[in-house]
C-alpha cells in the first residue's frame, strides 16, 4: 500500500508525560491527606474524603462512559443504612459492616442499571432519578432505617477485631486507606482493558457495537462498579459520622455529587476529589450564613460552567496538555 504522507508526523508519545504528572499529583494528594488532620478538623477531612470517593464513583460514569446518573445518592445512602444497621444491630465489626453495605449497593446497581442502561441521555438520567426516589421512599418507610430519625449512635468498633476505630487517629488512617483504595480502583478501572472499551463507548457507541462488543454489558458493569464504590463511600461515612440518615439518600445529595464533579472537572481523576473538598468546605465554613449557602453554591456552580467548563483540574490539565 503506497499512501503518501505529506504532513510531518506528530509522533510524540504523551503517555510518559502523563504518567509522570499523575505520579506527582498522587504524591501531592497523599501528602495533603497526611498533613490535613494537623491543620484542619480531622472529622471534617474524613467526611470530605467520603464525599470525594462518592464523586470519584459518579465520575467513573459521567466522565468515562458518558452516563449521567441523577440518582447516585441511592447507592451512597443504602450502603450507609446497611452498614449502620449491621454494625449497630447485628454487632458486626466495621470492615464486615462496610463490605455488607458495598454488596447491597452493588446489587442495587445491577438491578437498577439493568433497567436504566436500556435508555440513553436524558431518559437514562430520569430513570435513575425514579429509582432513587423509590429507594428514598423505602428508606422513609422501612422499619430498620427509623424514618426521620435515621440510625444514630453507630458503634465504630474494632476494624478486623484489631484496630480500635473510636480512636480518632486510627479512624483517620482507616478512612484514608479506604479512600485511597477506592480512588485507585477507579483509576485502575479507567486504565484497564475494560476501561479502554468504556472510553470507546463514550466516544462512539455504534462503532463499538459494530466491532462486535455488546456495549450494554459494558455499561452495566461500569454502572454496578460505580454503585459499589459509591456504596463504599456511604458505608465508610456511616462509620465516620456514626449515623445514617435520609440526607444521604436524598435527591439533593444526587445533585451535590454532580456539582462536586463538574466544579473539579469530570473525566479527570483528581477533579472530583478537589470538587468534593470545595463543596464540603463551602457548606462547612459558610454554615454561619444559613440559607445563603445554597445561593453561594449556585453562584459558584454558574461561574464554573461559564468560566471553566472543564472544571478546575480539567482546565489546568488542558493548559498543561496532560491528562490528570
Amino acid at each position: 500500500m503506497s499512501v503518501r504522507l505529506e504532513a510531518p508526523a506528530i509522533a510524540a508519545d504523551a503517555t510518559a508525560r502523563d504518567r509522570r504528572a499523575n505520579a506527582i499529583a498522587f504524591a501531592v494528594m497523599v501528602g495533603l491527606i497526611v498533613l490535613a488532620p494537623f491543620v484542619a478538623y480531622p472529622f471534617f477531612i474524613m467526611q470530605a474524603l467520603c464525599f470525594a470517593l462518592f464523586a470519584c464513583a459518579f465520575n467513573l460514569l459521567i466522565g468515562y462512559v458518558n452516563l449521567l446518573s441523577l440518582g447516585h445518592a441511592m447507592f451512597l445512602g443504602l450502603a450507609s443504612y446497611v452498614c449502620a444497621h449491621a454494625a449497630k444491630v447485628w454487632g458486626l465489626e466495621p470492615v464486615s459492616a462496610i463490605a455488607l453495605g458495598v454488596a447491597a449497593s452493588a446489587a442495587l446497581g445491577v438491578v437498577t442499571g439493568a433497567l436504566a442502561i436500556r435508555s440513553i441521555g436524558i431518559y437514562f438520567a430520569m430513570i435513575t432519578v425514579a429509582f432513587s426516589q423509590m429507594v428514598y421512599f423505602f428508606c422513609v418507610e422501612a422499619p430498620f432505617t427509623h424514618g426521620e430519625d435515621g440510625i444514630q449512635a453507630v458503634p465504630q468498633g474494632r476494624a478486623l477485631g484489631l484496630f480500635d476505630l473510636s480512636n480518632p487517629w486510627i479512624l483517620y488512617v482507616f478512612v484514608a486507606i479506604v479512600f485511597l483504595f477506592g480512588f485507585l480502583a477507579v483509576q485502575r478501572t479507567v486504565n484497564s482493558p475494560f476501561g479502554e472499551i468504556l472510553k470507546a463507548i463514550r466516544e462512539n457507541e455504534p462503532r463499538v457495537i459494530s466491532l462486535g462488543y455488546r456495549s450494554m454489558q459494558y455499561k452495566l458493569a461500569a454502572f454496578s462498579l460505580s454503585a459499589a464504590i459509591a456504596g463504599l463511600a456511604g458505608a465508610t461515612k456511616a462509620i465516620v459520622a456514626q449515623n445514617a440518615s435520609l440526607t444521604d439518600v436524598s435527591f439533593a445529595m444526587s445533585g451535590e455529587v454532580v456539582l462536586m464533579t463538574l466544579v473539579g472537572g469530570m473525566g479527570t481523576f483528581y477533579g472530583p476529589v478537589i470538587g468534593a473538598f470545595i463543596v464540603v468546605s463551602m457548606q462547612n465554613y459558610l454554615a454561619q450564613y444559613g440559607e445563603w449557602v445554597t445561593v453561594i453554591q449556585g453562584v459558584v456552580f454558574v461561574a464554573c460552567v461559564l468560566v471553566f467548563r472543564r472544571g478546575i483540574v480539567g482546565e489546568l490539565a488542558a493548559r498543561a496538555r496532560i491528562s490528570l
Partner: protein, 251 residues
C-alpha cells in the same frame, strides 16, 4: 442456496408508517467480490444497509449470512460472525490515539474485556499488530496522534485499519467516498481494493462513477426497489437506470 453466495436477502422490506422505504429487495452477494449498491437520494440504500448490519429491524424478509439466518440477531453478534460495517460519518474514537483506536478492535480477540482490575499494559502485546495495520493504510507516523486531530481522509483510513483488525469475512461500507475530494477518492478506492483481498465487500454509494472501476457487480435501487443489476456496463447502458438515476446530464 448456492454455496458461493455469502450474503443473501429474500424479500427484504422496511416500512415507516405508510412510507415504504425498502420493498422486496432480494440480493445475492457473491463471495470474494466487491458489490456496490447505488441509487439516488432516498432510494433506500442506507435503510437497506442498516438492515443488513442489524442496526434497524426489517418489517419483513430474511437475511442469511454464510447460510445462517441472521434476521433476528443483535448487531454485536452479527459483527462477531464476521460481517462488519463502516459508517457514513467517519467513525473513529476522537480522543483516543490512532493506535488505541485500532487496539480497541484487536482487543476483541481476547474475548470479552471485563477485566477492570488489570492494567492496560496487558494490551501492549497488541501494539505491534496495531502498528502493522496502521502501516498498511499509511498511518504509521500518526500512531500517537489523537484520531480527532487527523484529516478526514486519514480518519477514513484509520477506520479501515480498525475494521481490518477484527478480520471480518465481509465488510459493509456506507458511502466510503462521501464528502471527499478527488485525491482522497483515489486513495480510498486503492484502500478498498487493498482490503478486498480474500474478503467480500458490499458498499453503498451515491455516485455511480466512483464505483465503476471498483466493483464487480452493481445493484441499482430506486424508491426502495431493485431497478437493475449487473456489471458496470450492463447497468450504465440500462435505459431505466439512465433515466431514473443519472438524469439528463448523462442521457
Amino acid at each position: 442456496m448456492s454455496g458461493n453466495d455469502i450474503l443473501v436477502t429474500d424479500g427484504l422490506s422496511k416500512r415507516f408508517g405508510d412510507f415504504s422505504a425498502v420493498s422486496d429487495v432480494s440480493l445475492r452477494i457473491q463471495r470474494g467480490t466487491i458489490h456496490a449498491l447505488i441509487g439516488p437520494n432516498g432510494a433506500g440504500k442506507t435503510t437497506c444497509f442498516n438492515m443488513l448490519t442489524k442496526f434497524i429491524a426489517p418489517s419483513s424478509g430474511r437475511i442469511t449470512f454464510n447460510d445462517r439466518d441472521i434476521t433476528a440477531m443483535r448487531p454485536a453478534d452479527v459483527a462477531r460472525l464476521g460481517l462488519v460495517r463502516s459508517f457514513q460519518i467517519s467513525a473513529v474514537f476522537p480522543h483516543l490515539t490512532a493506535l488505541e483506536n485500532v487496539r480497541i478492535a484487536l482487543q476483541r480477540k481476547r474475548g470479552d474485556s471485563f477485566d477492570f482490575w488489570r492494567s492496560k499494559s496487558a494490551l501492549e502485546p497488541l501494539n505491534l499488530r496495531a502498528l502493522e495495520l496502521l502501516d498498511s493504510v499509511g498511518l504509521t507516523s500518526f500512531a500517537y496522534s489523537k484520531a480527532g486531530e487527523i484529516s478526514y481522509g486519514r480518519k477514513r483510513a484509520l477506520e479501515f485499519a480498525t475494521t481490518l483488525a477484527v478480520e471480518p469475512e465481509m465488510m459493509l461500507l456506507d458511502e466510503p467516498m462521501a464528502g471527499m475530494g478527488h485525491e482522497d477518492i483515489d486513495r480510498i478506492a486503492e484502500l478498498i481494493r487493498h482490503v478486498s483481498a480474500n474478503r467480500t465487500i458490499l458498499m453503498v454509494e451515491h455516485n455511480l462513477q466512483v464505483v465503476a472501476n471498483l466493483s464487480h457487480r452493481i445493484t441499482v435501487l430506486t424508491r426502495g426497489r431493485v431497478l437493475a443489476e449487473g456489471d458496470y456496463r450492463t447497468v450504465s447502458e440500462n435505459d431505466e437506470v439512465r433515466e431514473a438515476y443519472m438524469g439528463a446530464g448523462h442521457a
